[in-house]
């Protein structure tokens, strides 16, 4: 085991709002999001495409693509609000205190320079160290991620690595300056499953051994079940449920979470999947009340009012009137009938 201090809150996000202006109005891609991340914890963020999970991830690093912008909220890293930092200060924070890895590692490297040069520069850009020391740090980081013969691979260019190995280099690069938080946006989507398993094991080991706080953005519930401690479920820009990984899978309390679980072919009991009807709402034309209401089999009259996040028990919170009233979702024996009756079947 290690002497790393776990369970200390390192990142806390409060009321974060990130918007994109469009022709049809300003869209809240991240709509009053708040959560905390502890050292050594792996927090999963799941949701459909367009739910705002990637915008949220990019907001944390100040990497929201223009014309999108953060309009309000706080991102407290070790107690300091990143939103008050200048561009130059943010550049220092990125990579040294909070780092991000992306879906497609090959795009994150310059094709014309060796991995060694790019890793070394990532060190010297942030710190006054000799090239020799920087080089040693780079080799050490490659060792952490399980790269065989790291000193030799330093001389290789990005195209000489396989996808899985390059993702390891990417992770090594993000760890060079020992950040407290790693944001991983679909880090294995481009990789084969046997390689994916290795990368997940690596991320988990880094969290346990080094106390790295990890935010894993994914649509893959298998990955969430495999390595996450806690889960945030996003729908149409909002958090609809937050819970421990066991609570989410054993006792989902938002109808959308239930729908996501029912959509998994591994969990199918019959020859059909219990598919949710319809699709996500357009962000320019959101329902006035609960944003999931038009697709919801549990919906009642009060759902025409916007629900707030409500604490259920043991750190599980849910944005659902029905769950709030019943202390969890009630059984719905006539779910098919209710759906057909609402003209959504």
């Amino acid at each position: 085991m290690s002497d790393v201090e776990h369970d200390r809150t390192i990142l806390s996000v409060r009321n974060l709002v990130t918007v994109y202006p469009t022709r049809l109005g300003v869209v809240p891609a991240v709509d009053h999001i708040g959560f905390e991340l502890r050292a050594g914890e792996i927090l999963g963020i799941v949701g459909d495409s367009g739910s705002g999970k990637t915008t949220l991830a990019r907001s944390l690093l100040g990497l929201v693509a223009a014309p999108g912008r953060i309009v309000s909220g706080e991102i407290l890293l070790h107690g300091r609000d990143l939103l008050e930092f200048s561009g130059e200060e943010m550049r220092q924070v990125r990579g040294t205190e909070i780092a991000m890895i992306f879906q497609n590692p090959i795009r994150s490297f310059h094709p014309g320079f060796t991995i060694g040069r790019q890793l070394t520069e990532a060190v010297t850009r942030h710190e006054r160290v000799s090239r020799r020391d920087a080089r040693e740090r780079a080799i050490e980081a490659l060792t952490w991620v399980g790269m065989p013969e790291p000193a030799i691979r330093m001389k290789d260019h990005p195209h000489q690595f396989s996808g899985g190995m390059l993702q390891r280099v990417m992770i090594a690069m993000s760890l060079l300056n020992e950040p407290a938080v790693l944001v991983a946006d679909e880090p294995t989507t481009a990789l084969d499953v046997t390689i994916q398993a290795q990368i997940l094991e690596l991320i988990q080991r880094l969290a346990v051994d080094r106390g790295l706080g990890v935010i894993l953005v994914t649509h893959n519930l298998g990955m969430v079940a495999s390595i996450c401690d806690r889960v945030i479920v996003m729908y149409a820009g909002q958090i609809v449920e937050e819970a421990s990984v066991d609570q989410v899978f054993a006792n989902p309390s938002h109808p959308y979470t239930v729908g996501l679980l029912d959509s998994q072919p591994d969990r199918a009991t019959g020859t059909r999947l219990e598919a949710m009807a319809g699709g996500s709402p357009r962000m320019t034309d959101l329902p006035p009340g609960c944003r999931f209401e038009p697709r919801c089999a549990y919906a009642e009259t009060e759902c025409s009012q916007p629900p707030t996040l409500w604490p259920l028990s043991d750190g599980q919170t849910v944005r659902c009137w029905v769950s709030r009233r019943h202390g969890g979702l009630p059984d719905l024996p006539d779910r098919e009938a209710s759906r057909a009756g609402r003209g959504l079947g």
Binding site: D48, S49, S162, D192, V193, T194, Q196, A197, Q198, L200, E201, H219, N220, L221, G222, M223, V224, A225, S226, V245, D246, F249, G259, L260, L261, D262, S263, Q264, P265, D266, R267, A268, T271, R272, L273, E274, A275, M276, G279, S280
Partner: protein, 351 residues
């Protein structure tokens, strides 16, 4: 789902919609320093698809699953071997797509937008196979509306452009287009992989409904093993151009036997934290072999956790383990014992 299979072998031959006999697809590499190199994308594959059966194909990128799918549908001619469709040998033709049209086979790709012309209305794209048949306009519109209804899209979409549709709607439109000519077989190559989970579930259900209402076969190709299991009657596991295991998806009692299939399944995380915590992943060691420079003997032996000297010398045959299952491994059925022994021997209990 699966129709009753006849007992006699001869009867089965008559039932087969499609049979591959020793089919290979070898691509010659061009360019400096690569002269003479050959990629064995598909290498000597024997396979039968029965009428009404859904065959799944799984494997990692580069294993040849897409090329095999293209051979089945008739968009790629084999460089060796024969394709027999309903008892008749498929002719070698030069023009791409000629065989697919003759046999009434269709393919649906991951990128649905790619099979819909972005400058034309949805109705136009769906009707394209019908125009090729020479169907007249009023009948055509009627048929397109019928197709839209079958795939659960509103009539109004007929006059919209692909860019106005969501990903799920585009994939449904691509399926409608594939259905237009009443195909006997549709090869679905990662057809739901780019969709959100909830949309993917809708499209999988749609495919199952369509198969119940129409006499259509699917070949379901994906890296997503859970989706393949859910859809298929039989699953072919491919590794470097070969089928290493054919398993009966309905017979989960008989365990997998090929070390590669076992490894592949152990690598896939399942959406259940309780199962995940108890799981022991099998981690592959050894270099990934290349389809241009195949290992001797069994092509998985360089990475196989239970490989023996024999495996480097002799290539195992795809042999029957039951009426519906086949496996190509010298030590089929001995994985658990041999893996435990191999781990005890090499790690010395340090793991």
């Amino acid at each position: 789902m699966k129709r009753a299979a006849p007992d006699a072998d001869s009867g089965k031959q008559a039932m087969a919609l499609l049979r591959l006999d020793g089919v290979s697809v070898h691509f010659r590499l061009r360019g400096r320093g690569r002269g003479g190199g050959v990629v064995r994308a598909v290498d000597n594959v024997d396979l039968t698809i029965d009428e009404g059966e859904v065959l799944g194909i799984v494997g990692e990128s580069g294993c040849g699953k897409t090329t095999l799918g293209r051979v089945i549908v008739g968009l790629q001619s084999p460089t060796a071997g024969n394709v027999v469709v309903r008892g008749e040998k498929r002719p070698l033709r030069q023009r791409p797509g000629a065989n697919a049209r003759r046999d009434g086979f269709q393919m649906v790709y991951q990128d649905a937008a790619g099979s819909l012309n972005p400058w034309k209305r949805i109705g136009w794209s769906i009707a394209e196979p019908l125009r090729n048949e020479g169907m007249r306009k009023p009948a055509m519109r009627e048929r397109v509306l019928e197709l839209l209804d079958q795939v659960g899209l509103p009539d109004s979409l007929i006059d919209q452009y692909p860019g106005e549709l969501s990903g799920g709607q585009q994939q449904r439109a691509a399926i409608a287009r594939a259905l237009a000519g009443r195909p006997r077989l549709i090869v679905l190559d990662e057809a739901v992989s780019s969709l959100d989970m909830s949309t993917q579930a809708q499209v999988l259900n749609l495919l199952k409904d369509l198969a119940e209402r129409h006499p259509v076969n699917y070949v379901f190709i994906s890296h997503d093993i859970a989706a393949v299991d859910f859809m298929s009657d039989r699953v072919a596991v491919m590794y470097l151009g070969k089928i290493v295991e054919l398993e009966d998806a309905h017979d989960r009692k008989s365990p997998l036997v090929h070390p590669y299939s076992i490894t592949l399944r152990s690598a896939v995380p399942v959406p259940d934290p309780v199962v995940e915590r108890r799981r022991n992943r099998i981690v592959l060691t050894g270099p990934v072999a290349s389809a241009t420079d195949l290992p001797s003997g069994c092509r998985f032996h360089t990475r196989c956790p239970i490989a023996q000297p024999l495996c480097a010398d002799a290539e195992p045959e795809l042999a029957s383990t039951s009426e519906t299952s086949r496996v190509a491994c010298h030590f089929a059925g001995e994985f658990d014992d041999r893996y435990a022994a191999a781990r005890a021997g090499t790690t010395g209990g340090s793991g």
